[in-house]
Amino acid sequence: VRPQLRKLVLTAHVVASVGWLGALAVFLALALAALVADDPQTARAAYLAMDVATWTALVPFAVASSVTGVIESLGTSWGLVRHYWVAVKLGLTIVATVVLLMYTQTIGYMAEVAADGAAPRSPSPALHAGAGLLLLLGATALAVFKPRGMTRYGRRRATRRG
């Protein structure tokens, strides 16, 4: 892969990942506001905003981060499953994306309830957002520290090429 193209994909991956983290932080703030706000209207507004944020920021950034991450890995010598840190980071990203996509149903339902005039007052969005933030921070740490360790496949491949 040409260096310029690789840097373009890397830039897209970093932007999408940073956007995902930021969107999730905002989602957590809304979830906490919905949980503790004294005013029911504020809580309802927060549930409606969470639904909008899910579809306009969280899901697009999550999918973009996952796709660009896979492309970036396959286009470099890191590979997708040659190094433990890449494989674990891929696993964290897939888990976070799948849980997010499944959770869109719950958020949609809560937004419907809020639109009908009730505030669900559920701790579930805050718990899911908190767990998601931990996963994404773990993935970010892996990308920065790149801890050593090659998988069996990675070692075999390196031996064949070496």
């Binding site: 433990y84 149903q105 339902y109 009908d116 559920s122 069996r152 070692r155």
Partner: protein, 80 residues
């Protein structure tokens, strides 16, 4: 030859083992919550049909005045 190379290969790093242990604990915790009838999962807030979808969950707090601009879907809230 392959077997000898595998035998001398470095073991899985400790941090990977730690990640696996944490992942297993989390999966078991979620499974325990689900199996003991706890409230978890994407289907938790959605009933089998639309008939129950608009029932606010336990703890829901209703406004004194309903949302002024909400228009119920055509045919009410009963689903197919």
């Amino acid at each position: 030859m392959e077997a000898r190379r595998d035998a001398t290969a470095p073991a899985m790093p400790r941090w990977v083992k730690a990640v696996i242990v944490v992942a297993v604990v989390v999966v078991l915790a979620v499974a325990a919550v689900v199996l003991t009838g706890g409230e978890h999962g994407p289907g938790r807030h959605t009933g089998a049909g639309d008939a129950g979808r608009h029932a606010p969950p336990p703890g829901a707090e209703r406004d004194a005045a309903p949302a002024p601009r909400h228009v119920p879907p055509a045919g009410g809230h009963a689903g197919p």
